[in-house]
């Protein structure tokens, strides 16, 4: 199977199928609903039901001319002589890996993936393949994240302690994925939460999937209620409110490094991510057992070299893009 790494997405020429393209294309697989993967309207879109729901929420009427093909997890479908199937990737609700079987060879594209079970959503399923395209957002051995149990404990303890100290707890969490997980665990623990509108719009989908945040309030950016406030990092400027005693935590893979404090203004760092940490990435590659690995996203050169030193045939086909806020 021919695989082209174009910098604007990965192109499977034999199927005329683009994987997470960053420009409009005739036919696309969308692994999950984050903006850098699902930011464009395409002619024909394959994705899971949850991803399509978020995709519709984002693009609305602009999708009128698109054909949206809902793909259930684990079910095989045919395209241009290949057999395709989606498997859970645990990253955010709806995230999926794509397995492509073509002429007796199996290619697996992970999209963004987490190996340990997430706070919300399905656990990743291990699928074996001869050829692997894997992400490496945290592909350096400095990234070590909390398990979901440890993260739940830290998040709840942080909010309770802040309230006890007379501070308003603020949790900086990515608007799709982490924000809903944080809201879910805090509500389950009986801590009232106010969720910034940018993240609140995704809460009903999480509730429908079995991860509710009972009693959550929407926060539109004015005087916040007596509750733990959940805000996407990119919108933290809205916290510049006078007279409020805040205590800010940053829930992210990037919170594994102390320099996250200076970057976000957070005091407390909670290194929990919807991506695999370094050990998980190694474990994932071992379990999939590929003969050939392409590394995309993040520390691609570094992670490809580490895999090579461990005896894998690995390479970083694209130039790395600047690291963003969505770890």
């Amino acid at each position: 199977m021919r695989v082209e790494f174009t910098g604007q997405g990965i192109y499977l020429a034999d199927l005329d199928l683009w994987l997470d393209p960053r420009e409009p294309r005739p036919r696309a697989w969308i692994s999950h609903a984050h903006r850098d993967h699902a930011g464009c309207v395409h002619g024909e879109v394959y994705a899971t039901a949850e991803t399509l729901a978020f995709y519709r929420l984002r693009h609305g009427d602009a999708l009128a001319g698109s054909a949206l093909r809902e793909v259930p997890y684990g079910q095989t479908w045919e395209l241009a002589g290949a057999r395709l199937a989606a498997y859970p990737a645990a990253h955010v609700l709806g995230a999926a890996q794509l397995l492509v079987e073509w002429r007796g060879r199996r290619l697996l594209y992970t999209g963004d993936i987490k190996l340990r079970p997430p706070l919300c959503g399905r656990a990743t399923e291990i699928v074996q393949a001869e050829r692997l395209i894997v992400e490496s957002t945290f592909g350096l051995p400095i990234f070590h994240f909390l398990t979901r149990e440890q993260a739940r404990e830290r998040i709840v303890a942080f909010a309770r302690q802040a309230l006890e100290d007379g501070r308003r707890p603020v949790l900086l969490a990515h608007e799709l994925g982490r924000a809903q997980e944080v809201a879910h665990v805090l509500c389950q623990a009986g801590v009232p939460v106010a969720v910034h509108s940018a993240a609140a719009r995704y809460l009903p989908s999480y509730a429908a999937a079995g991860f509710p945040a009972p009693g959550w309030l929407e926060w539109t950016g004015d005087a916040p209620p007596e509750a733990a406030i959940i805000v996407p990092p990119r919108l933290r400027a809205c916290l510049a409110l006078r007279g409020l005693r805040l205590r800010i935590a940053y829930v992210s893979g990037w919170a594994a490094l102390d320099n996250a404090r200076a970057r976000t203004g957070a005091e407390e760092l909670i290194p929990y991510s919807d991506h695999a940490d370094f050990e998980e990435l190694l474990e994932l590659v071992e379990a999939i057992g590929p003969q050939e690995v392409d590394v995309v996203h993040g520390y691609t050169d570094a992670f490809a070299r580490i895999l090579t030193l461990r005896g894998k045939l690995a390479r970083a086909p694209e130039r790395p893009r600047p690291v963003g806020d969505n770890g």
Partner: protein, 539 residues
């Protein structure tokens, strides 16, 4: 050390000054005397006390080699990891995650490991010891064990806050602890004395150098809102030196607290005639026919180990005294400057070269200051030092009770190429700027500055710079070169740190040149020219 690391981590995780101090003092209070001493040294980023002559001599290269050997990661992965983390101690803790025996480490054991590191001479032997340490102790402990080696914990616990924490832990006031720490030159010593209720007995010790009080630079007289509140002296271009004199013995300590007496037998002879015991602060200058000569004339003296007394000296030296810290066992650092000055004048009444009293003048307006500045320059001095009326001698501090005003060499128009967040109240803003001059069609860095703009300007610049971002290297935001600043500086040095080969000394931002475009910035030739023309004035 495990506990210290855990506490340091909690201190880093609180931004409130009082919360940090409270966490530190609660920890210190529970320690026995020996551990209190160690913890205060370690928390201030030092393996030993400030008077201890031992040096670890462990550089970044050795730390990197040791972690490569201990972790098994390849050199490139380690290099990248350290760059992304931005702190070698933190990076080592993370790289050793899950790879150590997780043995406990006490403060006493940590101290003896530092002693052993200092004792080993060869880099390879130091690296071997570090490698063993990295494999043995807990990752979080390693993080802070290494931060003490690199000299900065980076937990936002400034020296003053540590003093307050020690004061609270020992049951004395912060002010009393601070003064005793200044006199002793070591906070740990003051804290132990405080525990014994003997804080008052700490005094400046003859023949032990105390830290020098330092002056904060200003760029113009307009930065002094209240000229009438300051005493004015010339700023001499010489070697800052503390003279300890008692019973016919004289020792001259320079900055860095080195004994330089042997280079100045002429000054030694003049000082030993002074009565009683005393500690003076002043400047060694080259001096001929009532005028100060450029500093370069003295350097050849320092280069020689001993100068014969009766040889004709090409560069006659003088000692210009301007402060008195101790007189006949009376500690004077806490006394106001006027009282110290009066004592000094009585002591040096009628003195002759090579012993001089620095003239002190008064100013009542910005115009007075400007006139005094011009006069000082005409006398061949660098500029002025302003000393706040009523101030005490704040050893080791650049607290703003002394100001120094030197003529900037020139200003340069430079372009911002990278920015970093600041500390404290400026933490969320990009307030540290790396800047460059033009070189052909590229920009090459010549320095870094973090002062001189208003908070409002910094806020605006932060927004502009974020929009210009093209990448990130750890905490540093790389930006497209667009924004032009005018910077003043004290000189140009050769430097291997910047690609340009030059670095500005003490650069500070004069103003944001919104009127200029990057192509209007100065170029490398101009920097080279300043470098070349400044040499004659120094030599």
């Amino acid at each position: 050390m495990d506990r210290l690391a855990a506490v340091a981590e909690r201190i880093a995780g609180r931004s409130g000054r009082l919360e940090k101090i409270e966490l530190a003092s609660a920890y210190l209070r529970a320690l026995d005397d020996e551990d209190l001493r160690r913890a205060l040294h370690f928390l201030s980023g030092k393996p030993f006390g400030p008077r201890d002559p031992r040096r670890l001599a462990v550089g970044q290269v050795s730390l990197r080699e040791a972690v490569i050997a201990a972790s098994g990661w390849d050199a490139e992965t380690v290099r990248l990891s350290i760059r992304e983390v931005g702190d070698v101690g933190e990076a080592i803790g993370l790289l050793m995650w899950g790879r150590t025996e997780e043995r406990a480490l006490s403060l006493a054991e940590a101290e003896s490991l530092y002693a052993e590191l200092a004792r080993r001479r060869r880099a390879a032997d130091k690296e071997e010891l570090l490698r063993e340490c990295f494999l043995r102790y807990r990752p979080l402990t390693l993080k802070y064990f290494v931060k003490v080696i690199t000299g900065d914990l980076r937990i936002g616990l400034q020296e003053k806050m540590l003093e307050e924490a020690a004061a609270a832990a020992c049951g004395v006031t912060a002010e009393a602890m601070r003064q005793a720490a200044d006199r002793a030159g070591d906070l740990a010593e003051a804290a132990l004395a405080a525990r014994r209720g003997q804080l008052e007995q700490i005094s400046v010790c003859l023949f032990h150098p105390a830290d020098f009080m330092l002056a904060r630079p200003i760029a113009s007289a307009r930065e002094v809102p209240d000229p009438e509140n300051w005493l004015v002296e010339d700023k001499y271009d010489g070697i800052r030196a503390q003279a300890h004199v008692a019973g016919g013995k004289v020792v001259l300590f320079s900055r860095g607290l080195a004994d330089v007496t042997a280079a100045f037998p002429d000054l030694e002879a003049a000082l030993e005639r002074l009565p009683g015991s005393l500690v003076l602060d002043g400047e060694i200058v080259a001096w001929r026919e009532g005028r100060v000569l450029p500093f370069g004339a003295l350097q050849q003296r320092l280069a020689r180990r001993a100068v014969p007394l009766f040889l004709p000296l090409e560069a006659p030296a003088a000692y210009v005294a301007y402060d008195l810290l101790l007189r006949d066992d009376r500690e004077l650092m806490e006394r106001p400057i006027e009282e110290r000055r009066a004592e000094l004048e009585r002591l040096l009444a009628g003195c002759r070269p090579p012993l001089l009293l620095a003239p002190q003048r008064e100013a009542f307006s910005v115009e007075d200051l400007e006139r005094l500045f011009q006069e000082a320059r005409a006398r061949g001095n660098e500029g002025l030092v302003l000393k706040r009326r009523g101030s005490r001698y704040e050893a080791g501090r650049r607290g703003g009770a002394w100001l120094k005003w030197k003529r900037p060499l020139a200003t340069l128009d430079v372009v911002i190429t990278a920015a970093e967040q600041g500390h404290g109240k400026r933490a969320p803003l990009l307030s540290d700027y790396t800047f460059a001059v033009r070189s052909g069609d590229r920009f090459v860095n010549v320095g870094k500055a973090y002062s001189g703009l208003t908070d409002e300007e910094i806020r605006e610049l932060t927004q502009r710079l974020r929009a210009l971002a093209v990448g990130r290297a750890g905490p540093v935001l790389i930006v497209r070169p667009e924004i032009v600043l005018e910077v003043a500086f004290d000189g140009v040095q050769k430097s291997s740190r910047h690609e340009s080969g030059y670095a500005l000394r003490f650069p500070r931002i004069v103003r944001w040149r919104r009127d200029k475009r990057p192509e209007d910035a100065d170029d490398l030739d101009r920097v080279r020219q300043i470098y070349e023309t400044q040499i004659p004035s120094r030599a």
